[in-house]
């Protein structure tokens, strides 16, 4: 990974440290899966989502609320896909 991208990814990763365990669990799995493949569009969408308050972000990720923005909606979909429930027996 080149230095510039690494710095960007590292910053995003730190911004994924949230106040709610729910979100930490989701982001942990997200990075396991997408760290290498996240493209510029994905980075931008993630960055916007990370600006949100934790409860609002969780409302989107948990499906309680929805967004009209298609870029954000696509990222939310990815986050929901990796959600721990997928691994829950």
């Amino acid at each position: 990974m080149d230095e510039v991208r690494k710095a960007r990814i590292n910053r995003l990763k730190w911004h994924c440290r949230r106040a709610l365990l729910e979100l930490d669990l989701v982001f942990d799995r997200f990075w396991e899966r997408y760290e290498d493949s996240l493209d510029a569009q994905g980075e931008a969408a993630l960055e916007s989502l990370l600006e949100l308050e934790d409860h609002d972000l969780w409302a989107l990720v948990s499906g309680r609320e929805a967004t009209d923005d298609s870029q954000l909606a696509a990222m939310i979909e990815r986050l929901r896909e990796v959600s721990p429930l997928a691994n829950f027996e």
Partner: protein
């Protein structure tokens, strides 16, 4: 000390006060100092309103008596009893008497509490809170829907902005700067964005860094809760108080740790075993599902251990709210429905939720008095203030929670002791501490050497694996139920892991938001907390509150294994030599009579 050049560089910045932590406790303390006109810096690893206080949903306790008769003395009684008599009764009286004042203040800062039709703050019942000295549950918890903690941080952050508190966001404090006389004059810290190290030189240093719930494998705490302040204090020679006491929340979602708030039981939720029995009726005939957390956690664990658990592995019990009107659930407990769906695959309106006791809250911490001053044994006195050093919130031990905290008493602790630490610092700045004490160079060098070691470690241990080994060991050897041999073995195992922590290695050496380095530095703190916990737990051979040992027998002199004759005392763990010391519990309140020792039954 042979320090490499790259990190020899640091700058010094001067403030009247530096506060580490921008959760509820840190923000409350900062208001006090900034309002008094002192130049105040608040350092935080994450944006203030992303501090873990955001997660608090249940509410904050205050005997406002808005829904039914209530009194601070009843609240005090509940807190002493909840603490299994390990809480200091002067600090508990102080907190319960101050509750109404700090809650009303918060309302003035703009906190949007839920309201009754008459406009007063709505209050709901919560485990362990009773009226008339333990008679029946009382409605004492004040909440703002399911966003109490979040709303609280917002209100206080706005207030701080108004009074010019200076925030250093995404800064990681590294070490306390403490001199040979034991006085504190600030902290070393790293700017995460650049990797730059700065010494914050202050006349007053306040720690409000929150808890260390991540020492356990299964925890309701977010990843950020790594006990940094507690670790920093331990490295600087401050003893840690009562670290064997960890609250396991009865209702973490099985398999995920995510918390189901006690408010669910407050609104009428019922715990059931595999036979569908409401088993709490057997363990706590009066309070039932609303008994104190450790009582409920222990009952659940007993049900599971005796083969009445649910699921394919019979390793959880059920929390049932299917009998409640869906409108009540969606209105009063909206988040719960989503959590059930996301982390348990269960629609809680139709089916009960799988739950297990999960690590939740750190009762022990940096020893303080009720004025928020950090206190240590010195010159024959067991509680001498450390000059220039204060602490509040979950990282501190005042001690109001003793061996077991009551729900909603933590948010109250943040407000009362955050304010009190700030107030005491203001008084000290006004009256006694006029100038900055010169910085202790050796303390700064030690801190730089710690970062330097990490940056250059070769053939060292992996941070992630080492942390996981620590968490698994703590879970297995010092969980809800504790066993003599397991504890002793755990002490050895944690000691070995501490050896690996001292040699962690990071591959990423970059400067900008180097999360690998941040996490390695956090692990240095977590391991101090883990050591303190397991060594203190191993030594305390009784059962009390959240510390429950299999070998502590139930006799008339030691009801439920609680041994007041030998163990009615606070533990103090010193990092140096893993040494233990003890100090008496303050049984004398400020103004009322002592709440006398009694078997704790609900």
């Amino acid at each position: 000390m042979a320090l490499r050049k790259a990190i020899m560089n640091y700058t010094v910045r001067k403030f009247d006060a530096v506060i580490v932590g921008a959760g509820g406790a840190g923000l409350r303390a900062a208001i006090q100092l900034s309002e008094a006109g002192y130049k105040t810096a608040v350092l935080t690893k994450v944006f203030p309103t992303r501090s873990h206080t955001v997660a608090a949903q249940g509410g904050v306790a205050a005997s406002l008596g808005n829904s039914e008769e209530d009194h601070w003395h009843w609240h005090m009684y509940d807190t002493v009893k909840g603490s299994d008599w390990l809480g200091d009764q002067d600090a508990i009286e102080f907190m319960c008497r101050k509750a109404n004042e700090v809650v009303v203040e918060l309302e003035h800062y703009g906190m949007p509490f839920d309201r009754l039709d008459n406009g007063k703050i709505y209050q709901r019942p919560f485990g362990g809170h009773m009226s008339n000295f333990g008679e029946k549950p009382v409605r004492r918890s004040c909440a703002a829907a399911d966003r109490t903690g979040h709303a609280m941080l917002h209100a206080m952050y706005q207030r701080n902005v108004k009074v010019n508190t200076q925030f250093f966001v995404e800064w990681q404090a590294l070490d306390l700067v403490r001199d040979a006389e034991g006085d504190v004059m600030g902290v070393t810290a790293m700017d995460m964005e650049t990797g730059e190290i700065v010494v914050f030189h202050a006349k007053a240093t306040i720690f409000a860094t929150g808890g260390a719930g991540r020492i356990y494998y299964s925890s309701t705490n977010a990843f950020i809760n790594t006990g940094d302040g507690v670790g920093m204090a331990a490295r600087a020679g401050i003893p840690l108080e009562d670290m064997e006491f960890w609250q396991f929340h009865p209702t973490g979602v099985a398999g995920a740790g995510v918390l189901i708030t006690e408010g669910v039981r407050g609104e009428g939720g019922i715990l059931r075993n595999s036979a569908g029995e409401r088993f709490m009726e057997r363990y706590a005939p009066n309070a039932k599902d609303l008994a104190s957390r450790d009582v409920v956690s222990r009952a659940m664990t007993t049900e599971i251990n005796e083969g009445r658990g649910c699921g394919p592995n019979e390793d959880f019990v059920l929390l049932d709210i299917t009998h409640l009107p869906p409108e009540t659930i969606m209105k009063r407990l909206p988040g719960i429905h989503e959590i059930g769906i996301q982390f348990a695959g269960v629609d809680c309106l139709k089916e009960p939720l799988p739950v297990v006791p999960t690590c939740h809250y750190q009762m022990g911490g940096i020893p303080t008095n009720y004025s928020g001053q950090v206190v240590v044994p010195r010159g024959g006195n067991h509680s001498e203030p450390v000059l220039g050093f204060y602490a509040a919130g979950e990282c501190a031990c005042a001690s109001v929670h003793g061996a077991n905290r009551l729900g909603t008493n933590s948010l109250l602790d943040l407000l009362v002791f955050g304010k009190s630490a700030g107030e005491t610092a203001v008084n000290d700045l006004k009256n006694s501490v006029k100038a900055h004490k010169p910085l202790a160079q050796d303390a700064i060098d030690r801190s730089l050497a710690r970062v330097d070691r990490l940056n250059h470690q070769k053939d060292g241990a992996d941070v992630h694996e080492t942390r996981l080994a620590m968490q698994r060991t703590m879970q297995k050897h010092a969980g809800v139920f504790r066993f003599k041999d397991m504890l002793a073995e755990g002490v050895k195992r944690i000691d070995e892991i501490a050896g690996q922590v001292a040699q962690t290695q990071i591959k990423d050496k970059s400067k900008v938001f180097n999360t690998a380095r941040i996490e390695a530095l956090e692990l240095d703190n977590l391991i101090e907390v883990a050591k303190a916990t397991i060594v203190s737990a191993n030594a305390r051979t009784e059962s009390r509150g959240a510390h429950v040992r299999d070998d502590a027998t139930d006799t008339p002199e030691t009801p439920d294994g609680r041994d007041d004759r030998n163990w009615l005392k606070h533990t103090l763990w010193y990092r140096e030599g893993n040494r233990l010391d003890y100090k008496p519990v303050q049984m004398k309140p400020m103004s009322v009579d002592t709440i006398e020792l009694k078997k704790r039954a609900y």
